[in-house]
Protein backbone atom coordinates (compact mmCIF):
# COMPACT_ATOMS: atom_id res chain seq x y z
CA UNK A 1 0.00 0.00 0.00
CA UNK A 2 1.38 3.44 -0.92
CA UNK A 3 1.96 5.70 2.09
CA UNK A 4 1.32 9.39 2.53
CA UNK A 5 3.76 11.13 4.86
CA UNK A 6 3.47 14.76 5.95
CA UNK A 7 6.14 16.87 7.52
CA UNK A 8 4.83 19.74 9.56
CA UNK A 9 5.85 22.38 12.06
CA UNK A 10 3.82 25.02 13.80
CA UNK A 11 6.40 27.73 13.31
CA UNK A 12 8.71 28.47 10.39
CA UNK A 13 12.42 27.81 10.10
CA UNK A 14 12.42 24.54 12.00
CA UNK A 15 13.96 22.51 9.18
CA UNK A 16 10.82 21.09 7.65
CA UNK A 17 11.89 21.22 4.02
CA UNK A 18 15.36 19.86 4.80
CA UNK A 19 13.82 16.96 6.71
CA UNK A 20 11.34 16.27 3.90
CA UNK A 21 14.07 16.37 1.23
CA UNK A 22 16.42 14.12 3.19
CA UNK A 23 13.77 11.55 4.08
CA UNK A 24 12.63 11.56 0.43
CA UNK A 25 16.15 10.98 -0.84
CA UNK A 26 16.89 8.24 1.67
CA UNK A 27 13.69 6.36 0.81
CA UNK A 28 14.42 6.69 -2.91
CA UNK A 29 17.97 5.46 -2.29
CA UNK A 30 16.40 2.27 -0.95
CA UNK A 31 14.62 1.81 -4.26
CA UNK A 32 11.26 3.43 -3.56
CA UNK A 33 9.34 5.62 -5.98
CA UNK A 34 8.79 8.81 -4.00
CA UNK A 35 6.77 11.91 -4.85
CA UNK A 36 7.27 15.20 -3.02
CA UNK A 37 4.65 17.93 -3.09
CA UNK A 38 5.49 21.42 -1.96
CA UNK A 39 2.18 22.58 -0.48
CA UNK A 40 3.89 25.57 1.06
CA UNK A 41 2.26 27.74 -1.59
CA UNK A 42 2.82 30.96 0.35
CA UNK A 43 6.56 30.45 0.76
CA UNK A 44 7.79 27.61 -1.45
CA UNK A 45 11.37 26.44 -1.16
CA UNK A 46 11.99 22.71 -1.30
CA UNK A 47 12.67 22.88 -5.08
CA UNK A 48 15.97 24.63 -4.20
CA UNK A 49 17.15 21.56 -2.29
CA UNK A 50 16.43 19.41 -5.33
CA UNK A 51 18.30 21.78 -7.64
CA UNK A 52 15.27 22.92 -9.66
CA UNK A 53 15.75 26.29 -11.32
CA UNK A 54 12.83 28.65 -11.71
CA UNK A 55 13.03 28.47 -15.51
CA UNK A 56 12.71 24.68 -15.38
CA UNK A 57 9.26 24.89 -13.79
CA UNK A 58 6.92 24.56 -16.74
CA UNK A 59 3.93 23.76 -14.57
CA UNK A 60 3.57 24.06 -10.82
CA UNK A 61 1.08 22.97 -8.19
CA UNK A 62 -0.59 26.35 -8.66
CA UNK A 63 -1.35 25.53 -12.31
CA UNK A 64 -2.94 22.26 -11.28
CA UNK A 65 -5.09 23.98 -8.64
CA UNK A 66 -6.27 26.48 -11.25
CA UNK A 67 -7.16 23.72 -13.67
CA UNK A 68 -4.40 24.65 -16.16
CA UNK A 69 -2.76 21.23 -16.16
CA UNK A 70 -2.99 17.71 -14.91
CA UNK A 71 -1.06 17.22 -11.67
CA UNK A 72 1.23 14.72 -13.37
CA UNK A 73 2.36 17.44 -15.78
CA UNK A 74 3.64 19.47 -12.82
CA UNK A 75 5.80 16.55 -11.62
CA UNK A 76 9.52 16.76 -12.38
CA UNK A 77 11.94 13.87 -12.23
CA UNK A 78 14.69 15.42 -10.09
CA UNK A 79 16.90 12.39 -9.56
CA UNK A 80 19.44 13.48 -12.17
CA UNK A 81 19.90 16.86 -10.42
CA UNK A 82 21.19 15.10 -7.31
CA UNK A 83 24.13 13.51 -9.12
CA UNK A 84 24.16 10.54 -6.81
CA UNK A 85 23.43 6.86 -7.33
CA UNK A 86 19.77 6.46 -6.34
CA UNK A 87 17.97 3.19 -7.05
CA UNK A 88 14.43 4.53 -6.88
CA UNK A 89 12.75 7.62 -8.32
CA UNK A 90 12.08 11.13 -7.02
CA UNK A 91 9.32 13.31 -8.50
CA UNK A 92 8.92 16.86 -7.27
CA UNK A 93 5.73 18.87 -7.64
CA UNK A 94 6.93 22.40 -6.93
CA UNK A 95 4.87 25.44 -5.98
CA UNK A 96 5.23 28.51 -8.13
CA UNK A 97 7.91 30.99 -7.14
CA UNK A 98 6.38 33.84 -9.19
CA UNK A 99 5.13 36.69 -7.02
CA UNK A 100 1.95 37.13 -9.08
CA UNK A 101 1.02 33.45 -8.80
CA UNK A 102 1.63 33.32 -5.05
CA UNK A 103 -0.45 36.44 -4.62
CA UNK A 104 -3.24 34.95 -6.71
CA UNK A 105 -3.53 31.91 -4.45
CA UNK A 106 -3.64 34.13 -1.39
CA UNK A 107 -6.31 36.30 -2.98
CA UNK A 108 -8.53 33.65 -4.49
CA UNK A 109 -7.83 30.62 -2.35
CA UNK A 110 -8.39 27.19 -3.77
CA UNK A 111 -10.38 24.10 -3.01
CA UNK A 112 -8.55 21.79 -0.70
CA UNK A 113 -10.45 18.81 -2.09
CA UNK A 114 -8.68 19.33 -5.42
CA UNK A 115 -5.39 18.97 -3.61
CA UNK A 116 -6.50 15.65 -2.14
CA UNK A 117 -7.70 14.49 -5.54
CA UNK A 118 -4.33 15.49 -6.98
CA UNK A 119 -2.38 13.60 -4.32
CA UNK A 120 -4.24 10.40 -5.05
CA UNK A 121 -3.94 10.86 -8.79
CA UNK A 122 -0.18 11.32 -8.40
CA UNK A 123 0.11 8.12 -6.41
CA UNK A 124 -1.80 6.24 -9.12
CA UNK A 125 -0.26 7.85 -12.19
CA UNK A 126 3.37 7.73 -11.02
CA UNK A 127 2.93 4.43 -9.17
CA UNK A 128 4.41 5.92 -6.05
CA UNK A 129 5.39 3.95 -2.96
CA UNK A 130 5.47 7.09 -0.85
CA UNK A 131 4.06 10.58 -1.24
CA UNK A 132 5.81 13.19 0.91
CA UNK A 133 4.00 16.44 1.68
CA UNK A 134 6.00 19.47 2.71
CA UNK A 135 3.59 21.91 4.37
CA UNK A 136 3.36 25.56 5.26
CA UNK A 137 4.04 26.32 8.93
CA UNK A 138 1.08 26.71 11.24
CA UNK A 139 -2.45 25.52 10.69
CA UNK A 140 -4.24 26.24 7.46
CA UNK A 141 -6.40 24.38 4.97
CA UNK A 142 -3.62 22.44 3.31
CA UNK A 143 -1.96 21.40 6.56
CA UNK A 144 -5.29 20.22 7.96
CA UNK A 145 -5.89 18.21 4.79
CA UNK A 146 -2.40 16.74 4.78
CA UNK A 147 -2.72 15.76 8.42
CA UNK A 148 -6.15 14.22 7.79
CA UNK A 149 -4.98 12.00 4.93
CA UNK A 150 -1.51 11.06 6.18
CA UNK A 151 -0.47 7.60 7.23
CA UNK A 152 2.38 9.17 9.16
CA UNK A 153 3.10 12.70 10.34
CA UNK A 154 6.40 14.14 11.51
CA UNK A 155 6.19 17.34 13.52
CA UNK A 156 9.46 19.26 13.64
CA UNK A 157 10.19 21.57 16.56
CA UNK A 158 13.12 23.39 18.13
CA UNK A 159 13.77 23.49 21.86
CA UNK A 160 12.13 26.90 22.07
CA UNK A 161 9.20 28.11 24.17
CA UNK A 162 7.22 29.32 21.14
CA UNK A 163 7.72 25.98 19.41
CA UNK A 164 6.66 24.08 22.52
CA UNK A 165 3.29 25.76 22.64
CA UNK A 166 2.64 25.55 18.90
CA UNK A 167 3.62 21.90 18.72
CA UNK A 168 0.99 21.22 21.36
CA UNK A 169 -1.64 22.65 19.02
CA UNK A 170 -0.47 20.51 16.10
CA UNK A 171 -0.35 17.37 18.22
CA UNK A 172 -3.91 18.02 19.38
CA UNK A 173 -5.09 18.47 15.78
CA UNK A 174 -3.30 15.31 14.67
CA UNK A 175 -4.96 13.33 17.46
CA UNK A 176 -8.41 14.70 16.56
CA UNK A 177 -7.82 13.71 12.94
CA UNK A 178 -6.68 10.19 13.92
CA UNK A 179 -3.27 10.15 12.25
CA UNK A 180 -2.13 6.51 12.47
CA UNK A 181 1.52 7.37 13.19
CA UNK A 182 2.69 10.56 14.86
CA UNK A 183 6.37 11.35 15.40
CA UNK A 184 8.17 14.35 16.84
CA UNK A 185 11.58 15.53 15.71
CA UNK A 186 13.48 18.01 17.87
CA UNK A 187 15.83 19.96 15.64
CA UNK A 188 18.61 22.55 15.98
CA UNK A 189 19.37 21.54 19.55
CA UNK A 190 22.35 23.53 20.96
CA UNK A 191 25.42 21.43 21.68
CA UNK A 192 25.26 22.25 25.41
CA UNK A 193 21.88 20.50 25.82
CA UNK A 194 21.62 16.99 27.19
CA UNK A 195 20.03 15.04 24.31
CA UNK A 196 18.45 12.30 26.39
CA UNK A 197 16.97 14.82 28.77
CA UNK A 198 15.43 16.81 25.90
CA UNK A 199 14.00 13.60 24.45
CA UNK A 200 12.50 12.49 27.74
CA UNK A 201 10.99 15.90 28.41
CA UNK A 202 9.41 16.25 24.96
CA UNK A 203 8.04 12.70 25.02
CA UNK A 204 6.50 13.32 28.40
CA UNK A 205 5.05 16.71 27.45
CA UNK A 206 3.23 15.45 24.36
CA UNK A 207 2.90 11.78 25.19
CA UNK A 208 4.31 11.06 21.76
CA UNK A 209 7.31 9.25 20.29
CA UNK A 210 10.38 11.37 19.54
CA UNK A 211 12.09 9.95 16.45
CA UNK A 212 15.25 12.02 16.75
CA UNK A 213 16.87 14.84 18.66
CA UNK A 214 19.12 16.56 16.15
CA UNK A 215 21.98 18.80 17.15
CA UNK A 216 22.58 22.18 15.63
CA UNK A 217 24.99 21.45 12.78
CA UNK A 218 27.53 23.82 11.27
CA UNK A 219 27.78 21.60 8.21
CA UNK A 220 24.04 21.98 7.64
CA UNK A 221 24.29 25.77 7.92
CA UNK A 222 27.26 25.81 5.57
CA UNK A 223 25.45 23.70 3.00
CA UNK A 224 22.75 26.39 3.18
CA UNK A 225 20.09 24.37 1.35
CA UNK A 226 22.34 24.01 -1.70
CA UNK A 227 21.79 20.27 -1.68
CA UNK A 228 20.66 17.21 0.23
CA UNK A 229 22.61 16.88 3.47
CA UNK A 230 22.52 13.08 3.56
CA UNK A 231 24.18 12.94 0.13
CA UNK A 232 26.84 15.51 0.96
CA UNK A 233 27.70 14.14 4.42
CA UNK A 234 26.61 10.48 4.35
CA UNK A 235 28.64 9.61 7.45
CA UNK A 236 27.62 12.58 9.57
CA UNK A 237 25.57 11.75 12.71
CA UNK A 238 22.75 14.00 11.40
CA UNK A 239 22.53 11.84 8.24
CA UNK A 240 22.16 8.83 10.51
CA UNK A 241 19.30 10.56 12.31
CA UNK A 242 17.51 11.31 9.03
CA UNK A 243 17.79 7.58 8.26
CA UNK A 244 16.25 6.81 11.62
CA UNK A 245 13.37 9.24 10.97
CA UNK A 246 12.78 7.78 7.49
CA UNK A 247 12.68 4.26 8.89
CA UNK A 248 10.20 5.22 11.63
CA UNK A 249 7.95 7.04 9.17
CA UNK A 250 7.55 4.08 6.79
CA UNK A 251 7.57 1.42 9.51
Amino acid sequence: MPKIISVHSFRGGTGKSNTTANVTTLLAAEGMRVGVVDTDIQSPGIHVLFGVEEEAMVYSLNDYLWGKCDIKQAAQDVKANLKAPIKGQIFLIPSSIKAGEIARVLREGYDVGLLNDGFHKLIDDLQLDVLMIDTHPGLNEETLLSIAISDALAIIMRPDQQDYQGTGVTVEVARKLDVPRLLLVVNKVPAVFDVSEVKARVEQTYNCEVAAVMPHSDEMMTLASAGIFSLHYPNHPVAGMYKQIAARLVA
Binding site: D111, G113, N116, K176, L177
Partner: protein, 289 residues
Protein backbone atom coordinates in the same frame (compact mmCIF):
# COMPACT_ATOMS: atom_id res chain seq x y z
CA UNK B 1 -15.63 -2.49 -14.34
CA UNK B 2 -18.07 0.30 -14.86
CA UNK B 3 -21.78 -0.08 -15.65
CA UNK B 4 -24.24 2.02 -17.60
CA UNK B 5 -27.78 0.68 -17.56
CA UNK B 6 -31.37 1.38 -16.70
CA UNK B 7 -33.08 -0.77 -14.09
CA UNK B 8 -36.60 -0.79 -12.74
CA UNK B 9 -36.52 -1.10 -8.95
CA UNK B 10 -39.60 -2.19 -7.10
CA UNK B 11 -39.80 -0.60 -3.66
CA UNK B 12 -42.87 -1.48 -1.60
CA UNK B 13 -44.92 -1.97 -4.75
CA UNK B 14 -43.76 1.30 -6.33
CA UNK B 15 -41.77 0.95 -9.54
CA UNK B 16 -38.86 3.39 -9.89
CA UNK B 17 -36.90 3.80 -13.07
CA UNK B 18 -33.22 4.14 -12.19
CA UNK B 19 -30.37 5.01 -14.49
CA UNK B 20 -27.23 3.37 -13.06
CA UNK B 21 -23.70 4.36 -13.90
CA UNK B 22 -20.25 3.96 -12.38
CA UNK B 23 -18.51 1.43 -10.20
CA UNK B 24 -20.79 -1.41 -9.04
CA UNK B 25 -18.89 -1.64 -5.74
CA UNK B 26 -18.40 2.09 -5.24
CA UNK B 27 -20.11 4.20 -2.61
CA UNK B 28 -23.68 4.92 -3.71
CA UNK B 29 -24.48 8.39 -5.01
CA UNK B 30 -28.23 8.96 -5.28
CA UNK B 31 -29.16 11.63 -7.82
CA UNK B 32 -32.56 13.24 -7.37
CA UNK B 33 -33.98 15.53 -10.02
CA UNK B 34 -36.44 18.36 -9.58
CA UNK B 35 -39.86 19.47 -10.67
CA UNK B 36 -40.93 18.64 -14.24
CA UNK B 37 -37.80 16.79 -15.16
CA UNK B 38 -36.17 13.35 -15.08
CA UNK B 39 -32.83 11.71 -14.22
CA UNK B 40 -31.41 13.57 -17.20
CA UNK B 41 -31.50 16.79 -15.11
CA UNK B 42 -28.34 15.82 -13.20
CA UNK B 43 -26.70 13.80 -15.97
CA UNK B 44 -23.84 16.30 -16.59
CA UNK B 45 -22.39 15.22 -13.24
CA UNK B 46 -22.52 11.50 -14.03
CA UNK B 47 -19.10 11.16 -15.72
CA UNK B 48 -17.43 12.85 -12.73
CA UNK B 49 -19.40 10.97 -10.07
CA UNK B 50 -18.98 7.64 -11.87
CA UNK B 51 -15.21 7.70 -11.40
CA UNK B 52 -15.63 6.85 -7.72
CA UNK B 53 -19.29 6.08 -7.10
CA UNK B 54 -22.08 3.78 -8.01
CA UNK B 55 -24.55 6.37 -9.29
CA UNK B 56 -28.27 5.79 -9.05
CA UNK B 57 -30.08 8.53 -10.97
CA UNK B 58 -33.78 8.06 -10.29
CA UNK B 59 -36.88 9.12 -12.11
CA UNK B 60 -39.11 10.24 -9.23
CA UNK B 61 -42.57 8.62 -9.33
CA UNK B 62 -44.71 10.42 -11.88
CA UNK B 63 -41.69 11.77 -13.79
CA UNK B 64 -39.52 10.34 -16.53
CA UNK B 65 -40.34 6.66 -16.95
CA UNK B 66 -41.53 6.03 -13.38
CA UNK B 67 -45.27 5.57 -12.81
CA UNK B 68 -47.10 7.94 -10.44
CA UNK B 69 -47.70 7.10 -6.80
CA UNK B 70 -51.21 5.71 -6.61
CA UNK B 71 -52.12 7.77 -3.55
CA UNK B 72 -50.51 11.00 -4.76
CA UNK B 73 -47.10 12.37 -3.80
CA UNK B 74 -45.70 14.57 -1.08
CA UNK B 75 -42.05 15.47 -0.48
CA UNK B 76 -42.09 13.28 2.63
CA UNK B 77 -43.42 10.34 0.61
CA UNK B 78 -40.68 10.78 -1.95
CA UNK B 79 -38.15 10.87 0.90
CA UNK B 80 -39.54 7.71 2.50
CA UNK B 81 -39.47 5.86 -0.78
CA UNK B 82 -35.86 6.86 -1.47
CA UNK B 83 -34.86 5.92 2.08
CA UNK B 84 -36.17 2.43 1.32
CA UNK B 85 -34.33 2.45 -2.00
CA UNK B 86 -31.07 3.39 -0.24
CA UNK B 87 -31.53 0.65 2.34
CA UNK B 88 -32.27 -1.95 -0.30
CA UNK B 89 -29.09 -1.15 -2.25
CA UNK B 90 -26.35 -0.44 0.31
CA UNK B 91 -25.38 -0.68 3.95
CA UNK B 92 -23.06 2.34 3.79
CA UNK B 93 -24.04 6.02 4.07
CA UNK B 94 -24.63 7.51 0.64
CA UNK B 95 -23.94 10.76 -1.17
CA UNK B 96 -27.13 12.63 -2.09
CA UNK B 97 -27.11 14.90 -5.12
CA UNK B 98 -30.36 16.82 -5.45
CA UNK B 99 -31.44 19.49 -7.90
CA UNK B 100 -34.27 21.93 -7.15
CA UNK B 101 -37.20 19.92 -5.70
CA UNK B 102 -34.73 17.02 -5.54
CA UNK B 103 -32.64 19.18 -3.20
CA UNK B 104 -35.63 19.61 -0.93
CA UNK B 105 -36.21 15.85 -1.08
CA UNK B 106 -32.54 15.27 -0.18
CA UNK B 107 -32.91 17.55 2.83
CA UNK B 108 -35.98 15.61 3.94
CA UNK B 109 -34.04 12.34 3.70
CA UNK B 110 -31.19 13.89 5.69
CA UNK B 111 -33.57 15.07 8.41
CA UNK B 112 -35.42 11.77 8.64
CA UNK B 113 -32.41 9.46 8.44
CA UNK B 114 -29.11 11.30 8.95
CA UNK B 115 -27.44 7.93 9.55
CA UNK B 116 -27.95 7.01 5.89
CA UNK B 117 -26.30 10.10 4.43
CA UNK B 118 -22.56 10.78 4.31
CA UNK B 119 -22.73 14.14 2.53
CA UNK B 120 -24.98 16.12 0.19
CA UNK B 121 -24.63 18.22 -2.92
CA UNK B 122 -27.66 20.45 -3.37
CA UNK B 123 -28.09 22.40 -6.59
CA UNK B 124 -30.55 25.30 -6.44
CA UNK B 125 -32.63 23.44 -3.83
CA UNK B 126 -36.14 24.61 -3.03
CA UNK B 127 -36.11 25.60 0.64
CA UNK B 128 -39.23 27.67 1.28
CA UNK B 129 -41.14 25.81 -1.42
CA UNK B 130 -42.10 29.09 -3.06
CA UNK B 131 -40.93 29.40 -6.61
CA UNK B 132 -40.12 32.75 -8.15
CA UNK B 133 -42.74 35.21 -9.23
CA UNK B 134 -41.49 34.70 -12.76
CA UNK B 135 -42.35 30.99 -12.65
CA UNK B 136 -45.66 31.66 -10.98
CA UNK B 137 -46.66 34.19 -13.62
CA UNK B 138 -45.37 32.47 -16.73
CA UNK B 139 -44.69 28.78 -16.57
CA UNK B 140 -47.20 27.65 -13.99
CA UNK B 141 -50.36 28.83 -15.82
CA UNK B 142 -48.98 27.17 -18.89
CA UNK B 143 -48.45 23.92 -17.00
CA UNK B 144 -51.99 24.09 -15.66
CA UNK B 145 -53.38 24.62 -19.16
CA UNK B 146 -51.51 21.59 -20.37
CA UNK B 147 -53.38 19.45 -17.85
CA UNK B 148 -56.53 19.68 -19.88
CA UNK B 149 -56.73 18.03 -23.24
CA UNK B 150 -58.48 20.88 -25.03
CA UNK B 151 -56.10 23.61 -23.92
CA UNK B 152 -53.19 21.25 -24.42
CA UNK B 153 -54.28 20.63 -27.99
CA UNK B 154 -54.49 24.37 -28.63
CA UNK B 155 -51.01 24.90 -27.20
CA UNK B 156 -49.65 22.00 -29.24
CA UNK B 157 -50.96 23.59 -32.44
CA UNK B 158 -49.63 27.05 -31.76
CA UNK B 159 -46.44 26.16 -29.96
CA UNK B 160 -44.27 25.61 -33.05
CA UNK B 161 -45.50 28.87 -34.54
CA UNK B 162 -44.96 30.99 -31.48
CA UNK B 163 -42.01 29.20 -29.91
CA UNK B 164 -43.88 29.86 -26.72
CA UNK B 165 -42.23 27.21 -24.52
CA UNK B 166 -38.79 28.35 -25.60
CA UNK B 167 -39.50 31.87 -24.56
CA UNK B 168 -41.26 30.90 -21.38
CA UNK B 169 -38.47 28.56 -20.35
CA UNK B 170 -35.46 30.67 -21.18
CA UNK B 171 -36.12 33.55 -18.82
CA UNK B 172 -36.98 31.70 -15.64
CA UNK B 173 -34.64 28.76 -16.12
CA UNK B 174 -31.43 30.03 -17.63
CA UNK B 175 -28.91 32.81 -17.25
CA UNK B 176 -28.77 35.66 -19.71
CA UNK B 177 -25.67 34.31 -21.41
CA UNK B 178 -26.26 30.69 -20.67
CA UNK B 179 -23.82 28.13 -22.04
CA UNK B 180 -26.38 25.33 -22.18
CA UNK B 181 -26.18 23.33 -25.40
CA UNK B 182 -29.09 23.25 -27.80
CA UNK B 183 -29.49 19.50 -27.36
CA UNK B 184 -29.62 19.74 -23.59
CA UNK B 185 -32.10 22.59 -23.83
CA UNK B 186 -34.35 20.55 -26.11
CA UNK B 187 -34.17 17.55 -23.79
CA UNK B 188 -34.99 19.62 -20.70
CA UNK B 189 -37.84 21.24 -22.61
CA UNK B 190 -39.13 17.84 -23.71
CA UNK B 191 -39.09 16.68 -20.08
CA UNK B 192 -41.14 19.67 -18.97
CA UNK B 193 -43.66 18.88 -21.68
CA UNK B 194 -44.03 15.13 -21.27
CA UNK B 195 -47.58 13.93 -21.84
CA UNK B 196 -49.73 12.88 -18.91
CA UNK B 197 -47.58 14.63 -16.36
CA UNK B 198 -49.80 17.65 -15.81
CA UNK B 199 -51.25 16.14 -12.66
CA UNK B 200 -47.92 15.28 -11.03
CA UNK B 201 -46.63 18.76 -11.84
CA UNK B 202 -49.56 20.38 -10.10
CA UNK B 203 -49.21 17.95 -7.16
CA UNK B 204 -45.48 18.66 -6.78
CA UNK B 205 -46.01 22.40 -7.04
CA UNK B 206 -48.37 22.20 -4.06
CA UNK B 207 -46.20 19.64 -2.25
CA UNK B 208 -43.18 21.96 -2.27
CA UNK B 209 -45.25 24.83 -0.86
CA UNK B 210 -46.56 22.60 1.90
CA UNK B 211 -43.05 21.50 2.81
CA UNK B 212 -41.50 24.82 3.84
CA UNK B 213 -38.07 23.99 5.33
CA UNK B 214 -37.37 27.45 6.73
CA UNK B 215 -36.50 27.21 10.41
CA UNK B 216 -35.51 23.55 10.09
CA UNK B 217 -32.04 23.66 8.58
CA UNK B 218 -29.96 24.51 11.63
CA UNK B 219 -30.05 20.97 12.99
CA UNK B 220 -28.54 19.37 9.88
CA UNK B 221 -25.03 18.14 10.65
CA UNK B 222 -24.34 16.32 7.40
CA UNK B 223 -21.52 18.04 5.45
CA UNK B 224 -23.15 19.74 2.49
CA UNK B 225 -22.27 21.74 -0.59
CA UNK B 226 -24.99 24.07 -1.86
CA UNK B 227 -24.53 25.40 -5.39
CA UNK B 228 -26.70 28.18 -6.77
CA UNK B 229 -26.81 29.95 -10.10
CA UNK B 230 -26.52 33.69 -9.58
CA UNK B 231 -29.31 34.19 -12.12
CA UNK B 232 -31.64 31.49 -10.84
CA UNK B 233 -35.08 32.82 -11.68
CA UNK B 234 -36.87 29.60 -10.76
CA UNK B 235 -35.94 29.03 -7.13
CA UNK B 236 -35.24 32.56 -5.94
CA UNK B 237 -31.94 33.39 -4.27
CA UNK B 238 -34.02 34.41 -1.28
CA UNK B 239 -33.84 30.69 -0.48
CA UNK B 240 -30.02 30.85 -0.72
CA UNK B 241 -30.14 33.56 1.94
CA UNK B 242 -32.10 31.18 4.16
CA UNK B 243 -29.28 28.65 3.75
CA UNK B 244 -26.64 31.28 4.63
CA UNK B 245 -28.63 32.47 7.66
CA UNK B 246 -29.86 29.22 9.14
CA UNK B 247 -27.26 26.75 8.02
CA UNK B 248 -23.84 28.42 8.08
CA UNK B 249 -22.08 25.05 8.19
CA UNK B 250 -23.17 24.40 4.60
CA UNK B 251 -20.64 25.37 1.94
CA UNK B 252 -22.72 27.78 -0.17
CA UNK B 253 -21.37 28.68 -3.63
CA UNK B 254 -23.12 31.17 -5.88
CA UNK B 255 -22.07 30.79 -9.51
CA UNK B 256 -22.11 33.73 -11.94
CA UNK B 257 -23.59 33.26 -15.42
CA UNK B 258 -25.67 30.29 -14.31
CA UNK B 259 -29.41 30.19 -13.80
CA UNK B 260 -31.41 27.29 -12.42
CA UNK B 261 -29.26 24.71 -14.26
CA UNK B 262 -25.61 25.36 -13.34
CA UNK B 263 -24.75 21.74 -14.12
CA UNK B 264 -25.57 22.49 -17.79
CA UNK B 265 -24.85 26.22 -17.94
CA UNK B 266 -21.46 26.41 -16.23
CA UNK B 267 -20.45 22.74 -16.25
CA UNK B 268 -16.74 23.28 -15.56
CA UNK B 269 -17.19 25.49 -12.53
CA UNK B 270 -19.98 23.33 -11.18
CA UNK B 271 -17.98 20.12 -11.60
CA UNK B 272 -14.96 21.70 -9.97
CA UNK B 273 -16.95 22.60 -6.88
CA UNK B 274 -18.49 19.14 -6.73
CA UNK B 275 -15.16 17.38 -7.26
CA UNK B 276 -13.45 19.49 -4.61
CA UNK B 277 -16.23 18.85 -2.11
CA UNK B 278 -16.44 15.11 -2.73
CA UNK B 279 -12.64 14.79 -2.54
CA UNK B 280 -12.40 16.39 0.88
CA UNK B 281 -11.98 13.64 3.47
CA UNK B 282 -15.13 13.23 5.53
CA UNK B 283 -13.22 13.44 8.80
CA UNK B 284 -11.93 16.86 7.80
CA UNK B 285 -15.48 18.00 7.03
CA UNK B 286 -16.77 16.72 10.34
CA UNK B 287 -13.95 17.53 12.77
CA UNK B 288 -14.56 20.21 15.39
CA UNK B 289 -11.73 21.92 17.19
Amino acid sequence: MSVNQTTIYNINGQAINVHEEGLPNGKVALLIHGWSSSWYAISPLLPLLSQRHRCLAVDLPGYGESPRMASGMTIAKYADLLIDLIQSTTKQPVVLVGHSMGGMTSLMIAMKRPDLVERMVLICPTISGNLSLMINLTLFPFVVLERFSLTRAIITIFEPLLGITDRLLRGPLFADRTMISKDAFERIKADTRRRDQGRIRAESFRAMRENDLRGKLSGIEIPSLVIWGMEDNTVPLRDASVVAREWPQADLRIIPNAGHWPQFETPDVTQRHVRAFLSTPIKLLKVEF
